[in-house]
Amino acid sequence: MPPLETPTELPTSAVPTAIPIPDAVIRVWDLSFAYGAAPVLEGVNLEVGAGEFLGIVGPNAGGKSTLLKLIMGLLVPQAGRIRVLGHPPAAASRLIGYVPQYPSFPRDFPITVEQAVLLARIGGRGRQHAGVSGLRNPLPGWLAALRPGGYGQADRAAARQALEEVEAADLAQRRIGSLSGGQLQRVLLARALAGEPRILILDEPTANIDQRLEGDIFDLLRRLNARLTILVVSHDIGFISSYVGRVACVNRTLICHRTDAIDGQVIRDLYGESVRMVAHRH
């Protein structure tokens, strides 16, 4: 990374996000959300184009994870609108593959890797019901999810393929609890991919794994970006800026920057104070 210089004026690198992108897969207008009394997000506007690789950065409790949850329909905003592939978030969540930062299940749960990945096949395949804009005559999600019985051949094949893609095929029969942090991360990514999503959302994918493995994950994401739109929340701006095309800085509000324009002033504005820069050499 080149040495930082303190600019004397406001950054001109901010890319306006309100200009509509024709093939936007995610549109957010004037989004505001509060958990209790204090607002977490205010007046957020965002357009994500098909095939983009977007990085989302910002300080802790700045609203990054909340924004993801709103996009996925897990939370409902108090103000504003969200459209994912032209549909309200809850209807389109099947088309999103989500990799959470922390596993929301107990590690000693009696389940194998293959069984966990197969769970993504409940509720119908994302692509099968996807038309040009997203969902065409979608079977109501809950109806597809009520189908009784076991998995079909296609389901098992999709799960196997997803595990192969993340290079975790040899872990298929292992218990979830016996995996290392890096292995679990790959399995959660396979679970997200097994549903054949159009959009991949990852929340801090490298926070809990070794630094030397960070590059592996992001190289994989770059390959996946050829067919998927990807949103990555990360605390490590310097690292992800070498992979993503645009960076959304979220600290209650949202400002986008081209990655080549991220510099010290941008970061100071975002975090509110000087931040140490760590240069990555892989």
Binding site: Q115, L119, I122, W142, P148
Partner: protein, 287 residues
């Protein structure tokens, strides 16, 4: 033991008792694993004790106490489940309140019902030796319903038990399946009440599944093993209590409890063995 076996061959009530024990084992084998892995034992306990309210009311109004139990159990399950899903707050206190209120209401009704005091003990502690034939059919029907639901929707129940957030993203109606699971727990509680009574129901529901969980690593195998273990402790409890004329319910639970402690010690010992062997093989490549 031999006097038990000869009695078993000749006495109808003992055969009914054995049938009741085996039928209840199917229920606790199917549902116990969900209670253990999803850590809802406290909820199950709350449902179990609030059942007395329904039984007491049914007795007072001259209805079948089992029917009253079923209604009360389902109502308690839905109430607890709804509070947990909508508010996620103070569910512990609510469960404790339902637990106590249900018991109190039931005891009040029973106190005001003329001439049925002896039934109270069999509701609280079970009386497997007095299970009537129509109760056996009722239990078999409940078992069939539970088996059908689990076979049909085992993937969805696994998804909701394992990772509710991800299940919601897949479009699985988590509210529906969570409440259905709690209702199935309620049904199983009613199933088990006749065998061990509502005070000890929680033990029979969770101990066989917890023992199974030490050794198998899939929910399906856990259910199979829990059913086998449940049947075994029922049979052993019946046999051991027959000679010395002890109440069967507590004997069954004592057997299950002893087996659990032994199993936990064994599982701990085996885990330490594995760790010692793994360390002895030298440093392995990290994942």
């Amino acid at each position: 033991m031999s006097e038990f076996l000869t009695a078993l061959a000749t006495q109808g009530f003992l055969q009914s008792a054995l049938a009741a024990g085996l039928l209840s084992s199917i229920g606790c084998g199917l549902i116990g694993p969900y209670v253990v892995v999803k850590r809802i034992a406290f909820i199950a306990g709350g449902i179990a004790h609030s059942v007395l309210g329904g039984m007491g009311a049914a007795l007072y109004f001259g209805q079948s106490p089992l029917a009253g139990a079923l209604v009360a159990a389902v109502v308690a399950a839905l109430l607890i489940g709804w509070v947990r899903l909508r508010w996620r707050a103070d569910e512990d206190t609510l469960i404790g309140a339902l637990w106590a209120i249900g018991m109190a209401v039931g005891l009040l009704f029973i106190a005001k019902t003329p001439g049925y005091q002896t039934d109270l003990m069999s509701y609280l502690f079970g009386n497997i030796l007095l299970v009537p034939a129509e109760s056996l059919w009722f239990m078999a029907a409940l078992d069939a319903v539970l088996l059908l639901l689990v076979l049909a929707w085992h993937r969805q129940f696994l998804a909701v038990a394992f990772d509710e957030e991800f299940a919601r993203l897949r479009g699985i109606p988590v509210t529906f399946f969570y409440l259905l699971l709690l209702v199935m727990v309620a049904v199983t509680v009613v199933l088990l009440i006749q065998v061990v009574g509502l005070i000890l129901v929680l033990a029979l529901l969770t101990l066989p599944a917890a023992i199974a969980g030490h050794y198998v690593h899939s929910l399906g195998l856990m259910m199979l093993l829990a059913t086998v273990i449940g049947s075994a402790v029922n049979l052993a409890g019946l046999a051991l209590s027959y000679g010395p004329d002890l109440p069967a319910g507590p004997t069954i639970i004592l057997g299950a409890g002893a087996l659990y402690v032994a199993s936990a010690l064994l599982a701990g010992f085996l885990a330490r063995q594995r760790a010692r062997r793994a360390a002895g093989e030298g440093p392995s490549a990290s994942g």
